[in-house]
Amino acid sequence: MIEIQNVRKSFGSLEVLKGIDLTVNKGEVLTIIGGSGSGKSTLLTCINGLEPIDAGRILVDGTEVHAKSTNLNKLRSKLGIVFQQFNAFPHLTVLENVMLAPRKVLGLSKEKAEENAVKQLTHVGLGEKLGVYPTRMSGGQQQRMAIARALAMSPEYMLFDEVTSALDPQLVGEVLDTLRMLASEGMTMICVTHEMKFAREVSDRVAFFHKGVMAEIAAPEALFGAPKDPELQKFLAATH
């Protein structure tokens, strides 16, 4: 369970998160939508502990992320995160990309790590690309590799930050399919996305962010069918 309690965060004088309260249960798929700069990415990086917060608490399975005593590196292996930019490690093959962290962070043996990596890569449909360098792959393939890389740490939660927005339109589908598959397998996920159709279809709940505030949160049918927040209405009108 991820519990976000009254979290505030500023960059200099710019307040980016203005007191967010949100709980994500095991097995749930939560989608976050919202305009550019509304603080969606910032929230994800705070959950992961990549950014400090100014006030409030974030608990992952009861562990406070920003407490001094927390071993962040250990916690992070529980929380997979995939970003908009693919962030493939260009100097490693696809297989090596996926094997690196399990070996160095979890201390897996080479054989174990490889076995697991091959499994995850096959899972996302890259079983044929093991020895290839990421720069030789399409954006969609690189993004799926990034997902496999996160999955290889056997995380209990996955955070996705607009994983399709840097992709050419024809490549979006293959990545969304991978996300759908994960959702159907019961992975707990928080997805920031601009793909409304996907959000509607896959989410248990959808949250709408506006200027650092979570303006509305509801089941997809309710949120898309009968939006209450006027900003959300505007936002939905603009997106289609």
């Binding site: 292996s77 970003f83 962030n87 093959t93 690196l100 962290a101 160095k104 979890l106 996160a150 740490m153």
Partner: protein
């Protein structure tokens, strides 16, 4: 046009001696690169450390190395330090001068290479649970070495060329030293220096070619 008659066959007699000198040249250049690389890494670490004194020290080193002539640096290593009773043999002074120079230029290269690697790379590593040191060691460093490889190769060629400055501090076993001595004895400047030029050219080419082959093997992405 030429009233000068070339004495090539006499000059060529000295070829074995000059080739021995070429070996010394190569040795000094290689050593100066190894030391220079180690120092450059240390300087880069100093500059990244955020410590003012270390950072200032490293910056001063880099700026002096890059803004004064290599000849001056070598001369300083011999006669400048000699003033304080620190006596470096010509070989050591030459090596120290070039290594000092190399370290300055290489540190600057490393800095450029680091800048070229997006922050998101280290961040991606951290998000997988790596410590900052692990993220640097396994993700940033290998990419940095690739970017810096070409400049490092160029610096190696520079190091070879710089060894010729050893003659100013009494170095007489390297290629330039031997050439200069042969020349002083016989006054056959053109012949000896032409042979030396060809040898230097071949060494430089061999190093560039070797580096290129090495790069092709090392960086396959």
């Amino acid at each position: 046009m030429f009233s000068y008659t070339f004495h090539w066959n006499q000059a060529l007699k000295a070829l074995p001696q000059m080739l021995d000198g070429a070996l010394v040249t190569l040795q000094v250049a290689l050593l100066s690169m190894v030391i220079g690389l180690a120092l450059a890494l240390a300087l880069t670490a100093c500059r990244l450390s955020g410590n003012r004194i270390l950072g200032g020290f490293a910056t001063a080193w880099v700026e002096i190395a890059r803004n004064t002539p290599a000849l001056f640096q070598i001369y300083m290593a011999h006669f400048g330090l000699g003033n304080f009773g620190i006596h470096l043999s010509p070989y050591t002074a030459l090596l120290a001068g070039i290594a000092f120079n190399n370290a300055g230029y290489l540190a600057e290269n490393f800095r450029g290479a680091l800048k070229a690697i997006p922050d998101t790379q280290a961040r991606a590593g951290r998000s997988l649970g790596m410590t900052p040191v692990q993220a640097f060691r396994y993700i940033v460093l290998p990419q940095m070495l690739r970017i810096a490889f070409l400049p490092v190769t160029n610096q190696m060629v520079w190091a070879i060329l710089m060894t010729s400055l050893g003659v100013t501090v009494g170095m007489n076993t390297d290629l330039a030293g031997i050439t200069q001595e042969l020349n002083a004895r016989s006054f056959r400047t053109f012949e000896f220096f032409a042979i030396a030029a060809i040898i230097y050219y071949l060494i430089a080419k061999a190093v560039t070619l070797g580096a290129r082959l090495l790069a092709a093997r090392m960086f396959r992405y």
